[in-house]
């Protein structure tokens, strides 16, 4: 399998400004020493609860954030080392679809000029060529091209998300990061957009990173899944392996917490995970999950477990697997 993206020991820290004189600034370790690869043509799902760093990770990969340490290699070259011109060229190949279809489209631009913008920025094509491409892409995402002259606020949420996807497609990218791309949509519209993303994947052989908090959505769309907790990878495996054979107590808790679409036997369900997600400013000692973990041992309080391969492609960071 060809590696499209390699992330090695990536760290992204944010320093919180403190107004109090003499107090030490607090550091949020949003992405804390992550390593993983993305293979060409796969859909890598990244799932985790709020504050786990999944969105920061997505933005860092596209160099929309700074990185503190580590490497991000796209087709073998470090994206943080590129000069402005090379970075601009790279931006053509990597695109992003955002969560909020209301704030991710410039409200003052008509759909036609929103979609023309990517090609204009990169000085591609004549006016006619851009126009033809817009028509083609709008049809592709299921919006009638006659609505080119409308403003984003004149569309429904689902249609706006389609426009956001169309904008990402304008430059024929190879790699698309979908950051909670369907979370803000109504269920029936969410299903349409998921199908659209899969249609596009089949047709253009895109590589996706699909970031979401919704395990069911990630489980449906991904070929491989990566579970994050407080800036760390806790478990990763091919989808079938992870669904059928997850090991980490947090992964299990996520699966258990997810409401089933069947009321039968709801009173006998497994115990729910207690406690809150800790703040990434001051993560617990040892394994970050140990205060909530039903199977925590003494060792878990002292040392963070390494990410170990338990079977081909299946990695877990948990002391239970020693």
């Amino acid at each position: 399998m060809e590696k499209l993206l390699e992330v090695k020991n990536l760290k992204t820290y944010f320093t919180l400004k403190s107004d109090r004189i003499g107090s030490r600034p607090e550091v949020v370790k949003a992405v804390n020493d992550l390593s993983f690869d993305v293979n060409k043509g796969e859909i890598l799902g990244i799932v985790g609860e709020s504050g786990c760093g999944k969105s920061t990770l997505g933005k860092t990969i596209l160099k929309l954030n700074h990185k503190t340490e580590g490497e991000i290699l796209f087709k073998g070259s470090e994206i943080f080392d590129l000069n402005d011109k090379d970075l601009k060229d790279l931006r053509r190949k990597m695109q992003m679809v955002f969560q909020d279809p209301f704030s991710s489209l410039n409200p003052r631009k008509k759909v036609g000029s929103l979609l023309a913008q990517p090609m204009q920025i990169h000085k591609l094509g004549t006016k006619e060529e851009i126009d033809a491409k817009i028509d083609e892409i709008m049809k592709e995402v299921g919006i009638n091209p006659v609505y080119k002259g409308r403003f984003p606020h004149q569309f429904s949420g689902g249609q706006r998300q389609r426009i956001g996807i169309a904008r990402a497609l304008m430059l024929n990218p190879e790699f698309i990061i979908c950051d909670e791309a369907v979370s803000a949509l109504d269920v029936s519209i969410q299903a349409q957009v998921l199908n659209l993303l899969l249609d596009l994947h089949d047709k253009y052989k895109f590589t996706y990173i699909f970031i979401a908090h919704d395990l069911a959505v990630v489980e449906f769309i991904s070929t491989r899944i990566l579970v994050m907790y407080l800036g760390k990878i806790v478990e990763t495996a091919e989808k079938k392996e992870l669904v059928g054979n997850h090991f980490h107590p947090y992964t299990k808790a996520l699966f258990d917490a997810f409401p089933a679409t069947d009321p039968k036997g709801r009173d006998e369900r497994a115990t729910v995970l207690m406690g809150d997600v800790p703040s990434p400013i001051n993560p617990p000692s040892g394994c970050y999950f140990h205060p909530r973990c039903p199977r925590a041992m003494d060792k878990c309080k002292l040392e963070y477990p390494p990410l170990k391969e338990v079977s081909p492609g299946h990695k877990v960071a948990c002391w239970l697997h020693e």
Partner: protein
């Protein structure tokens, strides 16, 4: 419609004792500068004591407006309650004046919201806010109210409540704030109805599971009724006793939770369940069975079935009028020409 109103009245007289709240033929419109939005149309519902009724539907279906009609939180203008009654313990709430409604709010009818941060006062300590509710409804002193507050926070499983009462809302996590809101709802002498408007939508799944479990336990312990507003079929499956599926201001299907999930009959209910990637049928599927199209503009909608433009079974008759109720089984009703077979000739 007449038949529907009649049968609901008959039902009401049979089991009048158990019914805590009933809404009869409620219609609510909003008069905007673009036209009249009929947000809720001829809606009937009943909630029994100790029961959880879920109103489920997507954005714009009128579920929140329905809930807000109960304790008169619909902004008027632009909103207007066009018709109907809200009967709560023998009184029509729509006839009450502002003062009477205000005394009912937070006493017999409490509400929790999606974002608890916006419904807690940011400049007061959690403990003081809950104690105030106690003192408003009981003739007790501050010390006693504080003691009761601590007990209540224990009940909603907030750890170290003696310390937490001194916290301000922003010092609590989202889940803890929602617990505090629930505690506040329980601070009245006799909590009757809890309206929970998307109570877990802003929370992480592991926290959502905790809150849903808490609501379920409390409901059993103190025989409280819950009106649950949600878009999430999973939340419905976990907590509801009865379910009303709404779409564009109309009731589409009504059933107890088990028969709804076992035998979803309205094409919209079916589509909604099929849209969920967690549906068991998708274990090895590559595509979801999505409902095509989008919700119609509520400004332009007439008397037709609002789901007609997206429905796989739409017929001519669906474009002409909204169907009457069809009873499939005891307590399981559906409003659909395809199901009742009337449009087929």
């Amino acid at each position: 419609m007449d038949k529907d109103a009649y049968s609901s009245r008959k039902l009401a007289s049979d089991q009048n004792k158990d019914i805590l709240l009933s809404m009869e033929d409620i219609s609510v419109s909003f008069y905007t500068h673009r036209g009249i939005v009929k947000a809720v149309r001829n809606l009937n519902l009943q909630i029994k004591k100790g029961e959880t009724l879920a109103l489920v539907g997507e954005s714009g279906c009128g579920k929140s407006v329905t809930a807000h009609t109960i304790n008169q939180l619909v902004p008027m203008p632009p909103g207007k309650i066009e018709s109907g009654k809200v009967i709560f313990e023998g009184r029509n709430l729509l006839d009450l004046d502002d003062k009477e409604i205000a005394s009912l709010r937070g006493d017999r009818i409490s509400m929790i919201f999606q974002e608890p941060m916006t419904s807690l006062n940011p400049v007061f300590r959690i403990g003081d806010q809950i104690a105030d509710v106690f003192m408003a409804h009981h003739d007790i002193k501050k010390d006693e109210a504080m003691e009761k507050t601590v007990k209540l926070l224990e009940l909603v499983k907030i750890p170290a409540p003696e310390r937490r009462i001194k916290d301000y809302p922003h010092q609590l996590s989202g889940g803890m704030r929602q617990r505090a809101m629930i505690a506040m709802a329980l601070a009245s002498p006799e909590p009757g109805l809890l309206i929970a408007d998307e109570p877990t939508t802003a929370l992480d799944v592991t926290i959502q599971a905790q809150i849903l479990r808490l609501i379920n336990e409390l409901k059993q312990d103190i025989n409280m009724s819950v009106l649950l507003i949600t878009h999430d079929m999973g939340v419905v499956a976990e907590t509801a006793d009865k379910v009303i599926v709404m779409y564009a201001g109309r009731k589409m299907e009504e059933a107890d939770v088990y028969s709804l999930f076992e035998n979803p009959s309205h094409p919209y209910t079916q589509g909604l369940l099929n849209s969920l990637p967690s549906n068991k049928k998708y274990t090895n599927a590559t595509r979801l069975e999505a409902i095509k199209g989008t919700i119609p503009d509520l400004l332009t909608i007439g008397n037709e079935c609002p789901f007609e433009n997206r429905c796989p079974h739409a017929m001519t008759v669906c474009r002409e009028s909204f169907p009457d109720k069809t009873e499939l089984a005891d307590g399981h009703s559906v409003w659909c020409y395809f199901v009742d077979g009337k449009g087929k000739e």
